[in-house]
């Protein structure tokens, strides 16, 4: 019964379409980058990109390389550290700004001035301010998710229907009870959305920060996926550049998907019936 349903969902029309689309994309890429050998002239742009088969070969060679996995590990660790810190600080901050007018009045102006500064503009400053390179990368990563999470939580908590508070009050709820059983669940969808968007930004930021700061590991290849790409570029291995890029794509996709699953689990009332 379950296996039947699983097969059905795995081979659903939309999944099939996705697989075919990716396959066609790879074929076009392969043909495009081999056009000089096959047809005698290079295609514009794709003509200079290594073909997917060459990338796969390079990838296969890297699977046994601990340096490659070390890069994965370092980047993931930084993303998780920055992201979790952003959630732990950002969610309470957003909620508190939403419920307390005075606090909102004090914090919000400076928050709004700092928010438009792109996280990458913080890189030089954080390298100077933080004692270790590791901390400065994690800090920039944190900033990437932090502002997005706070602004989503604040917006979500502020747009709660006032009738919910009135009903809760007239049924005898205490203030803490209203916060716990009305404000928190009503804001949860915005927390999930803010986190998912923040997670995406975190991956963008960590890679750039690693490229700029030049990696923080003890060995040359221990500086995360961003440094891995940069190092491949310096070393002239174009296949490895593409391997690094696709790795980041996969990592970001998996993280977002996990968050979406977790978010769906936490907000069952939003599921389609």
């Amino acid at each position: 019964m379950i296996s039947k349903r699983l097969t059905k969902s795995l081979f659903s029309r939309s999944n099939l379409r996705a697989v075919i689309a990716i396959f066609v994309f790879l074929v076009l890429w392969e043909v495009g980058s081999r056009s000089k050998d096959w047809f005698g002239f290079p295609m514009p742009w794709v003509g200079h990109v290594p073909p997917p088969t060459a990338v796969l070969v390079a990838w296969y060679g890297l699977l046994g390389d601990p340096g490659y996995w070390q890069s994965w590990y370092m980047s993931t660790l930084r993303v998780l550290a920055g992201f979790l810190a952003a959630m732990v600080i950002g969610i309470p901050l957003g909620l508190f700004m939403a419920v307390n007018k005075t606090f909102h009045g004090i914090v919000f102006p400076s928050f709004e001035v700092l928010r438009p500064i792109p996280p990458l503009a913080w890189v030089p400053a954080s390298i100077i301010f933080w004692p270790t390179q590791e901390l400065s990368i994690a800090f920039v990563t944190f900033l990437g998710a932090f502002f997005t999470i706070v602004i989503n939580v604040l917006g979500g908590a502020k747009s709660i229907d006032p009738r919910f508070f009135q009903s809760a009050q007239s049924m005898g709820s205490s203030q803490w009870d209203v916060f716990r059983r009305v404000v928190l669940p009503a804001t949860l969808p915005s927390i999930v959305v803010g986190s998912a968007v923040g997670m995406g930004i975190t991956w963008e930021v960590v890679v750039a920060a690693e490229m700029i700061s030049g990696g923080g590991g003890t060995t040359g290849s221990g500086g995360g996926l961003g440094f891995f790409i940069w190092n491949s570029y310096v070393g002239g291995s174009y296949e490895q550049i593409v391997v690094g890029m696709i790795s980041i794509g996969i990592a970001g996709f998996v993280c977002s998907e996990l968050l979406r699953k977790l978010g769906g689990y936490l907000t069952p009332w939003l599921r389609k019936r």
Partner: protein
Amino acid sequence: MNANTQNQSAVMSDTPKPVVKPSEIQVKNVSKSYGAGLFEKQVIKDCSFTIERNKLTVMIGPSGCGKSTLIRLLAGFEKPTAGTIELDGKRITGPGRDRLVVFQESALFPWMTTHDNIMYGPKARRENTKQNRGLAEYLLEKVGLSAFRAKYPPQLSGGMQRRAELARAMINNPDVMILDEPFRGLDCMSKELMWEYYSGLFEESHRTNFFVTTDIDEAIFLADRLLIMSNIPGQVRETIEVDLPRPRRLAFVFDDDRAIAVKMEALSILHKEAMKSFSGGSKAASDFVEAYSKRSAAAETAEQ
């Protein structure tokens, strides 16, 4: 005639039902304005009426006559500018569980299942007792939502949501239930079913109820007493005792001569108030209204 005895056999009797307190609300010379100085707008002016004990009082009036404002005052979410509101002789100063409000459209918590929504009040007061859990089961059964106990509000139909909301209010055993156009937005079939349903619930306990609406058929079907509001600033223009027998049934109520007479009486008062709001002090508009009233009065006498 006592309606209670008739429906008793259909009611589950193993759950001890809480005793309903015969409460009365008195609104004395209440005024409410918003804004100050030049921008002051008076919404309710020197309004007095009584929500009598054990009766279903329905308030009807043109839209924008201050009905919703009055409800916020009765609930205690806002305070009157002048005058007092008393529940059993005690002045109302803030929200309290002795008066529960059922809002326009649904104010069920979308993140809670039907059952958890109904249990919200008891849990909020740390009264998650066996008796209250039993009462929740009884009410779920009563509003016909036992099979939907684990569904979330967005998964329920409009009529189910209103029923769940009635149950969520009743479990708190309020002294007075205040309903602000609770069936607005339902299609006319479910609306009529809800009328029979709601009046059945009322007939069972005869809890003091205050029901606000803009729908004249709804008002006459439900009311023991009908309060007709004036145009803004709101006042009670007229009180009509609707002495139709209970339990009320749709087919019966709209065939009854007395019901039709009440409806005509209420409509003519409402009509005058609506005309006032239509003309709004303009000479041309009030001339039109006068001419229109004469014409419709002539048509009425011709009919009779």
